[in-house]
């Protein structure tokens, strides 16, 4: 009966693997080292490319700066820009006192006549002196400011003094008032200033 020596064959096969594996590993790691070297070379080229781009950009900036320095009327341009900026700010705060008169006239009793009017932009306060024929007219004059249509523009009306004055022909009540006006009345209204700026 023939005998098969399985043990001998196994020992030969593992001996081959023992010789081959280090070689494979050497090749694999050699490949990795080569890949790392190629990667380094690529990084080196990439760095040079980036450095060149940086230099180009810096050169372009120098060129632009030279061009900026040579733009004609550059100094005047900066002055004009400052002028325009200040102009826009001032226009935004510009007030139109003349727009207050029509609103005040609407709120005034027909029988009242003004003898003094003072307006100040600080505190939005208006002071006036006026005459009415009787005390009842003064009461009517004041009642107007209890109506929403009128007190939206003029409010907090205070009588700071009143007295009866008489001359040869007639008597009248002279009174002084202080009130607050709505500051939006002074904002530019194109319908009231058709030729305004």
């Amino acid at each position: 009966m023939a005998q098969i020596n399985l043990l001998k064959q196994t020992s030969v096969s593992s001996s081959n693997l023992g010789n081959t594996l280090p070689k494979i590993l050497v090749w694999v790691f050699a490949g990795l080292v080569v890949a790392v070297l190629i990667y380094y070379a690529w990084l080196f080229i990439d760095a040079n490319g980036i450095n060149k781009k940086i230099k180009d950009a810096q050169d372009a900036m120098v060129k632009y700066n030279t061009e900026i320095a040579n733009v004609p009327r550059k100094d005047e341009l900066y002055t004009r820009q400052l002028q325009l900026k200040n102009y826009n700010e001032l226009v935004g705060k510009h007030v139109y006192w003349s727009q207050l008169f029509p609103a005040l006239a609407k709120s005034t009793l027909k029988s009242a006549t003004y003898s003094n009017l003072q307006l100040q932009d600080s505190g939005n306060t208006l002071s006036l002196s006026a005459n009415v024929p009787t005390v009842a007219d003064l009461d009517k004059y004041l009642q107007v400011f209890d109506i929403p249509e009128f007190n939206k523009n003029f409010s907090n009306v205070r009588v700071t003094g009143f007295n009866k004055s008489s001359d040869l022909n007639s008597t009248s009540i002279k009174f002084q008032l202080k009130m607050q006006y709505d500051p939006s009345l002074l904002q530019y209204d194109p319908s009231l200033n058709p030729n305004g700026n």
Binding site: Y64, E76, R80, L90
Partner: protein
Amino acid sequence: MAIELVLLILFGGLFFWFIVLPKRASITDLEANLSTVQKQQQDISGELNSLKNLANELNNDTADINHLDQALPLNGKTMTLQILAATLAQSVGVTIKDTNAVGPNNQILAGDKALLAKPYGTTRALQKISGSISVLGTFSQLEAFLRKLETSGRLINIGSLTIDSAEDGNLSLKVTMEAYYLAP
């Protein structure tokens, strides 16, 4: 073979750690630097273009420049404000009772050689002229005068106004005003 393998691993590892990684880090820095420089380049390029466009506008918009100079002059001559107020008063028929205008103290109004040589070469700032004007007229004349002041080409801000009855059935109007200019 084992020695070669160890040496290979050692060489590869050391090369990667001490040469490749620092190079990669330096490239990251370079890329960030490039990005910054390119942004600066774009900004300067944009500034140059807008400067060129503005310079063209400056050459073409002479009328607008004149309006701007009228509204906010580059000199602080107080008399021009008084002349303007007088002209406006005449145009609506009111009589001027009194007028004055005061600028900052020690302001050079003429003969500034350095400024004349380089009118736009110095830094300017907003300055103020304060003044007042009293006029006589009917209510409609005073209202028209006020409107002219408010809408004149020169920017004039009225701080306060007082209307009083005057002789001959007329009214008197007094306004305090401020005008502005840009000067060194």
